[in-house]
Amino acid sequence: MKRNQIINAVLALVFLLFPLAVTSDYYRHLAILALMWVVIGGSWNLLAGYTGQISFGHAIFFGTGAYAAGILADKLGLSAWWGLALGGPAAVLMGLVIGFICFRLRGPYFALATIAAGEICRLIAVNWESMTNGMVGILLIQSFRSKVPYYYLALALAGASLLVFSLVMKSKWGFYFVSIREDQDAAESLGINASLYKNLSLAISAFFTGTAGAFYMNYMAFIDPEVVFSLPYISIMAILVAIIGGVATIWGPAVGAFIMVGIQETFRSAIFGLAPKWVSQSHALVFGLIVIFVILYLANGVVGDWPKIKRLLVRSPKTGDATWLSLKRGKSERPSEG
């Protein structure tokens, strides 16, 4: 385990010193976005990967948090930073409403209901112009000109979320979540109050996603319904981040976040300007192909299928390792694994 601790320390150092070593605002921006997705992907992972409630509507929480911050600033003249504190709770409230409506449904029905709920939220934001400025959106002035404070804030948020998710999954709650995922009826017959724990999972998930939304409002200083309640760019992106990284793992979404943000921008900018222009045109195509590829061959994500990747790259299979074999078969991680 010492090796683990050293790696942890090195990583922490790299992240802490990153903005000081890299002075380009462009790369700092990418890092901030990636950190934000670490939070959102991890939140989705808690609700879906660990508790089995596959939500296609996480944009609801993101948007609620973002608009909470934005409306406070735009309508009440308060600093949008208050939104950072209030975005999470606002999203939690929203989450409880959504849970109340949708949790009675299972499997694909739940997923569809979350899609519909997300779209309804978007349409409400578009039409309730007195509150949200409708399609015009909310435009603020950023508090800091430098990206550095935002970076550390995002880092703190990402770190906090990872810590909380890790602690939760190691606790009794973690066991309850996984048991609900595996078989809700069996869990209930064992006396686990499925409804309570689903809502708890949702509350935590919504809290962090909402806070990320409020952060987004403060950082990007511009939101509109299409941006923050977006089905493809927020909800589905959250799912992909978690899946590509590895569902039901703590680090999976974190890895996934960096991969997704990195790949998207690499292609949109035609490999940072090195490749011909048409590469930029194909960024969405590459994205889709990656999704297909990962789901076909790396269904458990980079982290979950890491042994598989290692075997393909390193070509020195370690035989007879029970832990890896069981991971390959895709069984759920025990909550005690990080």
């Binding site: 790299v14 511009f222 974190a254 930029s280 982290v303």
Partner: protein, 401 residues
């Protein structure tokens, strides 16, 4: 877990390596200006016309000696039609590519977001299409706009309505983004000024299939004129379906945008005939170089251009002119130089003034066109037009009933 950390380390190392490799920009051999346009996504068509116009102008400018002997370069970046991407792209152009100023700005929402970035970073931004009024009402001194704001799009129509059509009532249909909503508000005010009663204002989400429910309500309201602010495909469907319902007010009027594109006539067919629209530019206007620009564009790209292209073409020349006159390439000197602009372009005279709540806004009149025999003709002001307007219109006859 070992695996996860290893993965993250790998990726982060990669990012850091990239950062160091692509470090600071190379020495300034050329003057770099960043242009933000939608090159993919559903606004791609307009982004393309503007990019092509920028390219056309750039060739000419550099062939004529560039800017004080230095070559001018446009770094055209794709905002994909989304404001948050526009924001990121603007930041990239400013911090990574170290451009001396920004240009472009098609959709209002994206332009708005980009303007926020420009103002914050104190980099001059010359807007050529984004038309929401708010953008130049914020007292952002680094933001300049050569096109009229959407509230003035219909200014050319006012005299046409007052002297020729003289309607008593109107219905306004608009797409519900910033552009349509503000345009509708502005036209409503114009109607009040002219004593026209607005019977109904309806917003809709662009991309609809069936407008008949709304149109039948309009038919019942029986207005004298119907004013529509739409993107091109909605415009075509609105006219086609109005024809199918035999909805025949005295006049159909478009608020520029979709109604002035060649695609409108192509898709609406017979239903486009005799539809009137406000426009910001037409090639027959007595503006130096406007017909030549139209012909050059057609020759090079084998298609028609429209006011969006003219805006871009003119913007390129304004940028070159401002950079030539600037005392240095520092942002504040460029800003000052832009402020002092007094240039005649194919789009019209460019001079940035402050009026009302607006700052750094170029004030232009707009014109009125009408589709006749599948061609868009300039019909108003009467002293500038070569063709007479067709009014009143027997719609049922025109539509072939």
């Amino acid at each position: 877990m070992r695996k996860g950390l290893a993965g993250i380390t790998l990726i982060l190392t990669g990012l850091v390596m990239c950062a160091f490799l692509m470090g600071p920009a190379l020495a300034q051999e050329t003057l770099k200006v960043g242009i933000v346009l939608p090159l993919t996504g559903d606004q791609a068509k307009f982004g393309e016309i503007e990019k092509q116009s920028f390219d056309l102008a750039l060739e000419e400018i550099n062939a004529a000696g560039g800017v004080n002997g230095k070559k001018l370069e446009f770094l055209i970046e794709d905002d994909t039609g989304r404001p948050e991407i526009g924001r990121s792209v603007a930041e990239k152009l400013i911090t990574k590519d170290q451009v001396v100023m920004l240009g472009g700005g098609y959709a209002s929402s994206t332009t708005y977001a980009v303007a926020g970035v420009a103002q914050q970073n104190r980099v001059p931004f010359l807007i050529n299409t984004g038309s929401a009024d708010d953008i130049t009402e914020k007292k952002w001194d680094y933001i300049f706009r050569i096109n009229p704001p959407v509230s003035e799009y219909a200014s050319g129509l006012e005299t046409f309505l007052a002297e020729v059509v003289k309607p008593q009532s109107a219905v306004i249909l608009h797409e519900n983004t910033l552009f349509g909503t503000k345009g509708a508000e502005a036209f409503k005010k114009d109607c009040e000024k002219l004593g026209i009663k607005v019977l109904m204002t309806e917003g809709y989400e662009a991309g609809g299939i069936d407008f008949k429910p709304v149109l039948i309500k309009v038919k019942q309201a029986n207005p004298d004129i119907i004013y529509m602010i739409s993107y091109v495909m909605d415009a075509s469907l609105l006219m086609r379906q109005s024809r199918e319902l035999k909805l025949a007010p005295k006049l159909f009027i478009g608020g520029a945008a979709g109604f002035t594109l060649p695609e409108f006539a192509k898709n609406a067919g017979a239903a486009a005939e005799n539809v009137v629209s406000a426009t910001l530019w037409h090639q027959v206007l007595p503006l130096p170089g406007s017909m030549e620009y139209f012909d050059k564009f057609k020759k090079k790209y084998n298609k028609d251009t429209d006011y969006h292209g003219a805006e871009a073409y003119a913007a390129a020349y304004v940028i070159a002119d401002a950079l030539k006159r600037a005392k240095s390439l520092k942002a504040d000197d460029i800003k000052q130089s832009l402020k002092e602009t007094d240039l005649m372009t194919v789009f019209g005279p460019v001079k940035f003034i402050s009026y009302g709540k607006k700052t750094n806004q170029n004030k232009l009149t707009t014109y009125v066109v009408q589709w006749q025999d599948g061609k868009m003709q300039l019909i108003w002001p009467a002293n500038l037009s070569k063709v007479k307007y067709v009014y009143p219109v027997d719609w049922l006859k025109v539509w072939g009933y």
